[in-house]
Symmetry: C2
Subunit: 284 residues, 2 copies
Amino acid sequence: MKSELWYTEEYTEHIRFSYRVTDLLLRKQTSYQLLEILETPEFGRLMLLDGKVMVTQRDEHIYHEMLVHPAMLAHPKPEKVLVIGGGDGGSIREIVRHKDVKKAVLAEIDDEVIEASKRYFPKLTSGLSDPRVQLQIGDAAAFVADAVKFNEKYDICFIDCTDVAGPGPVDIASSLITDEFLDNINTLLSPNGIMVAQSETPVYSIDYLKRYVKRLSQRFTYVASYVIMVPSYAGLWSLTWASESVDPNTVISRKAPEGIRYFSPGIFKGALEMGKVQFWEKIV
Amino acid sequence: MKSELWYTEEYTEHIRFSYRVTDLLLRKQTSYQLLEILETPEFGRLMLLDGKVMVTQRDEHIYHEMLVHPAMLAHPKPEKVLVIGGGDGGSIREIVRHKDVKKAVLAEIDDEVIEASKRYFPKLTSGLSDPRVQLQIGDAAAFVADAVKFNEKYDICFIDCTDVAGPGPVDIASSLITDEFLDNINTLLSPNGIMVAQSETPVYSIDYLKRYVKRLSQRFTYVASYVIMVPSYAGLWSLTWASESVDPNTVISRKAPEGIRYFSPGIFKGALEMGKVQFWEKIV
């Protein structure tokens, strides 16, 4: 009889979520973080960074589709798109489904994440070979600051970073929530520009989400969180939209591209309803 | 140093959710089930039946408000209301907030659940002393069959029962999902009658939910699930609405009663969007 293996993620110091594990496929300390790939019966393969779930085969499509498609379909003509983080490739895969896109930049600090994803999650990285995609390996905050200096513009910017709220290490993504970074993103966006960022789970990180929404509201006209259901992300996760001119409540009338499995305008509408911060405050 | 205690609920044989426990307040085998009350730092007190979470102090209001108020506000004049299960008292507490109610019957098989709730969860049982409330201790399926025999009618019926899908024991509630029971509920409801049932988590029990919705659709004109966020119920839980004449998508225009902490028409609308079964099928 084989040993019984479990991987446990701590949502808070008092709450744990555990997956039965059938194999440890990779464990490697990169220059930036501990990278692990596990095999599980319920969620398929999991990628962990510093002990926290980044993607699972079962539900990664929900997160990536709900991060990418609302903004891509709300923007009149998204040609230049930037992904910050997102080294697993999932966001780029969804972005390149859109024919308007001329250039999609992936600004990822850790190229070993990209390489591991290519090997262990080939479905996630299928978009990386698209000729419109540019990899930008390095510090994304510095890349954004440089782009601002040279007056570059992007139509949409996705902040697809590792955790920025505890428990556990948050240092690697901490440069992506500074005032300077948010100001730079605001400057970087073209007139109809939109940013969408992962903004932690409202279940256990409502204080972070509230502060983040408040800070974005000081910089953008339209700010709204929407809550998506991702079983491996504490059940529910929030994404936050910010734009000077594009209201997320605008009806999305353009047709979604081929190949989408989960996203629909109806579920986005529901996610916006569920994303109103006051609902979550009442759970604490 | 005190021992470190954890209570773990199995969502499937491969997935576990664990709460740090600071005290075991009650452990008692009743005539029907094992009843336990735990103290936890993250969720306050928990009531377990046969090892599964029934209510927690932190999030019980979300479940009870979302179960009760949509139907109560959609029905033109809910005077007679039946709760099946619900021995913790939370559903009755929400029902008696409505002034139209003349009679609210709680059909609970296990009076020790009611007694324990009175002692350990006084906020849940505050409605049980309302003069409009009748306790009906015994087998709810037999009570419903008798009521049908005597041609009694109820305006709204809430099925607030223990788990009907595994893993773990489901026997105690199994009489509440038979064809005969569903037929009886249909007969029991008055012309504008509505039933709302807890219908398990779509995350891990989508097959159960699909079958249940299908079986109700064979009996009722309007059937819709809605998904609510309850951190201690696998993050998300489904409630299913069935009625011959009241569409859950009807705009709720009546004012909600005083004392509600979480429910709003907007969050119900979002919950209905999130409850469409096809979204959940795509997660499996």
